[in-house]
């Protein structure tokens, strides 16, 4: 069966520090991968998605970036965090086939101080 791992679960970082969140998927190949951010416990905003190694599409211009160095690895990064980067970050994967649901990791709670 397929599983998705996301870490760390919580993170407290000062303003201006770098960020690296990692997500890996097991038990499948060539998944679509996604990073979402959830602010204030509600709205889900898509940040990046990837349909293959090295292929990254950005949804919202900001100081975050994403990379996919391996087929089942998706990394969210920032060189300098802002207070507004605080939130709950969710990684997800899906099979490319139409009708496949997205499967989410347990999320990372990021607090920028």
């Amino acid at each position: 069966s397929q599983t998705i791992h996301q870490w760390p679960a919580t993170l407290v970082q000062p303003v201006g520090s770098p960020l690296s969140l990692e997500c890996t998927v097991e038990g499948t190949s060539n998944p679509n991968l996604y990073w979402y951010r959830q602010a204030a416990g509600r709205g889900l905003q898509l940040l990046f998605y990837s349909v293959g190694i090295g292929q990254i599409s950005s949804e919202v211009p900001q100081n975050l970036s994403a990379s996919r160095p391996q087929d089942r690895q998706f990394i969210l990064s920032s060189k300098k965090l802002l207070l507004s980067d605080s939130g709950f970050y969710l990684c997800a994967w899906s099979a490319p086939a139409e009708g496949s649901p997205l499967h989410f990791g347990n999320g990372t709670r990021l607090t920028v101080t």
Partner: protein, 114 residues
């Protein structure tokens, strides 16, 4: 623009009563619709989906959803609510020409009281 709307921020139901969480959508072409549930500080769990076929879709934990093309709705239902159903529910539409991304509604907080 393709979008999903959940008109109720919160739904309150007594345990044992039926529940409905509303969702309407606006998409071009055939909609691929999903419902997810989120418990506090956790990721989203997939409940059910509508791709094609029967308008009544059955999913996990006794939930079902009714697709209505003429009303562009996809309401989530359960015949008898449990206190453990209390959570945040999201309706979503999948956009296949943009990496298969999900566009979510704003979420509905379901509270089931004993």
């Amino acid at each position: 623009a393709q979008s999903v709307a959940q008109p109720e921020d919160q739904v309150n139901v007594a345990e044992g009563n039926p529940l409905t969480v509303k969702c309407t959508y606006s998409v071009s072409g055939n909609p691929y619709l999903f419902w997810y549930v989120q418990y506090p500080n956790r990721g989203l769990q997939f409940l059910l989906k509508y791709i094609t076929g029967d308008n009544l879709v059955k999913g996990s934990y006794g939930f079902e959803a009714e697709f209505n093309k003429s009303q562009t709705s996809f309401h989530l239902k359960k015949p008898s609510a449990l206190v453990s159903d209390s959570a945040l529910y999201f309706c979503a539409v999948r956009i296949y020409n943009q990496g298969g991304k999900l566009i979510f509604g704003q979420g509905t907080e379901l509270s089931v009281k004993p």
